[in-house]
């Protein structure tokens, strides 16, 4: 499903050259749940953005669902993201001045669906994430847990095969983190491939995790 082959990523600034990833190879099968762990700056987010097609590797290949994402150009990479990937950001990145419903509908706008289909999809994921009662509230008025549920709903609304989550529990207390893990479990049961970057130890000994990948300074340890 997801294959990284000898991937390197370096950022070149005027002053220095940062090797964010060095020779990473990994293999994720469809429906697996993979945890990326490692200290801050070890390259977890970088791997996720490569898989989402948001950036390109310096060398090496990224293949997702048989497509070479690393060579995909606009607007195909956007199209690919829309079809396959749901992203949950570290700080949720909801648009604060939009309502819950409008935030969740964002990934559907470029699809230009009929109003009914769009409405139905949004309703479904709001139901699933237990946020229906807030559908017209502005996101900046939501609590942290509610914001997180909106972020999950938004990642699910385009029915992606792969969910990418970057430190999804960093701003949550233990109870909410527990809830998030349960949601992830439900998603895994329905066949979604999960990639979660985290240094939250709650994730490290979960039974449904298939692979744990530890990174240090851009190198894979295990």
């Amino acid at each position: 499903m997801i294959v990284l082959k000898n991937v390197c990523k370096c950022y070149e600034t005027e002053a220095q050259r940062i090797d964010a990833l060095r020779d990473i190879s990994l293999h994720v099968k469809a429906g697996e749940c993979v945890i990326l762990k490692g200290a801050s700056g070890s390259g977890k987010s970088t791997i996720l953005s490569l898989i989402a097609g948001l950036s390109k590797p310096t060398t090496g290949d990224v293949v997702v669902d048989g497509k070479r994402i690393s060579k995909l150009m606009e607007p195909f990479s956007a199209h690919f993201r829309r079809e396959n990937i749901g992203v949950i950001f570290q700080r949720y990145h909801l648009i604060a001045t939009l309502s819950v419903r409008d935030n969740i509908a964002l990934p559907l706008i470029p699809e230009n669906l009929s109003a009914q289909v769009m409405e139905k999809r949004v309703e479904e994921v709001m139901e699933l994430c237990a946020i229906s009662h807030k559908s017209s509230a502005l996101c900046r008025h939501l609590s942290g847990g509610e914001q997180q549920r909106v972020a999950i709903a938004r990642a699910l609304v385009n029915e992606p095969k792969i969910i990418i989550a970057d430190e999804p529990t960093a701003n949550l207390d233990a109870v909410l983190s527990e809830q998030f893990i349960e949601t992830m479990y439900d998603l895994k049961k329905s066949g979604v491939t999960l990639l979660i970057a985290t240094h939250d130890s709650q994730f490290f000994n979960l039974l449904f995790v298939d692979q744990q990948i530890e990174l240090k300074n851009g190198v894979m340890l295990s």
């Binding site: 607007p75 956007a78 829309r82 079809e83 470029p110």
Partner: protein, 393 residues
């Protein structure tokens, strides 16, 4: 591809979301475009009016000079002038200014004659509408709209007492008024029978103020001018072209001021544009990053940006255009007009003729709308080009 209404909706909504900022940009744009449009409208209307009035001028006006001053022309010169080949008609004019002390205003008093053709078509139309013989009998006069207004303000509803050159009262009855299509000059004009004009000015009846010569073929003007000079060396011949040039000079001088106003507002506009071009706020960049990560293509993002800026700028353009039209043609451009119309040295107000110049509006459009849209699109395009991995970190 089907038109994506959701994108348009999102654009509209995001304008509303940005509230105060949108309003601020909208007001600034509206004000600047309004200023530019008003200046262009006024200068255009006046230019147009000058062209029209010059077009109606007689080809040749003859003045008699004595010791460098303009003096009256003896009427016995009319016959010899008529005999010059190529001259179609010779019309002696009796006219002058009458100073109305109470209002501090100069009126142009023009003598008219039942048997004589007027030297100007527009004037002829006014004269034709009245019975000049009856005017003569009842000491009547016809006044321009501006004159009528001023007289009414001073309680002269249906007559006016002129003070003649020898200090006597001369009562003239207002028999009618006119709005000639060439409002620039007609506004301060009083038409009355020649006899009365002679009396008011204290002029001998065998003289005229000046003489207007009509020519059948404009090509012959140079030869006719030289023949007139030979015949009467003390006469100065003013051609239509001379008048046009002197009008133009005054106008150009006045419009210099407006040009600088124009430049200042254009400059301000470009400053705003420059400021916008120099970068997006991090908030805006973040939003573009989020949308990209959620599967929007660059195309979608740029389209949305285009709708947003187009709605804002085109709305401002239309509003400014409507406002400036109302300001210039309906309210007669208070403040700005006094700077512009000052050249006419006449106090009686004149109306700015409505003159809709399409190429000018197109120019105004091109100067504002695409420039603004570009200033929004270019930085957005730059931001959308970058990898959006910053939102994932």
């Amino acid at each position: 591809m089907k038109f994506n209404l959701y994108l348009l909706e999102f654009a509209l909504f995001s304008l509303i979301r940005k509230g105060a900022k949108t309003l601020f940009v909208f007001l600034i744009l509206t004000f600047l475009i309004f200023l530019l449009a008003s200046v262009l409208f006024i200068s255009d209307a006046i230019k147009h009016e000058l062209n029209v009035s010059v077009a109606h001028l007689p080809e040749l006006t003859l003045q008699r000079l004595q010791a460098g001053k303009q003096v009256n022309v003896p009427l016995k010169r009319v016959e010899p002038l008529l005999e010059i080949e190529g001259v179609a008609s010779v019309i002696p004019r009796v006219w002058g200014y009458y100073y109305f002390k109470v209002a501090g205003v100069n009126f142009s008093v023009v003598g008219i004659d039942a048997f004589e053709q007027s030297y100007k078509e527009s004037l002829q139309k006014v004269v034709d509408a009245y019975d000049v013989k009856a005017l003569e009998k009842e000491s009547g006069m016809i006044v321009g709209a501006g004159v009528k207004k001023i007289l009414e303000e001073n309680y002269y509803q249906d007559f006016f007492n002129f003070v003649t050159a020898d200090g006597k009262w001369k009562r003239m009855h207002i028999m009618g008024s006119f709005n000639a299509d060439i409002s620039l000059q007609a506004n301060d004009m009083i038409l009355l029978p020649k006899k009365s004009a002679y009396e008011i000015f204290g002029m001998p009846e065998n003289e005229a103020t000046d003489v207007v010569v009509k020519v059948s073929n404009p090509e012959e003007i140079p030869t006719i001018v030289s023949k007139i000079n030979q015949l009467y060396p003390d006469m100065r011949v003013v051609t239509k072209e001379d008048i046009r040039v002197s009008y133009q000079n005054i106008f150009d001088y006045k419009s210099g001021f407006f040009l600088s106003l124009f430049v200042v507002s254009a400059f301000t506009f470009f400053m705003i544009i420059y400021d916008k071009l120099s970068g997006l706020s991090s908030e805006e960049k973040r939003e573009i990053g989020i949308l990209k990560a959620l599967g929007w293509s660059m195309d979608d993002i740029l389209k949305e940006r285009f709708y947003e800026s187009f709605i804002l700028c085109f709305g401002a353009f239309l509003l400014a255009l409507a406002l400036s039209m109302a300001y210039v043609f309906f309210w007669e451009a208070p403040l700005l007009r006094s700077l512009f119309v000052g050249y006419s040295t006449l106090k009686p107000s004149f109306e700015l003729p409505f003159y809709f110049n399409m190429p000018m509006i197109v120019l105004l459009f091109l100067l504002s709308v695409p420039v603004y849209i570009g200033s929004v699109m270019i930085p957005s395009w730059r931001a959308a080009m970058l990898d959006a991995d910053e939102v994932l970190r």
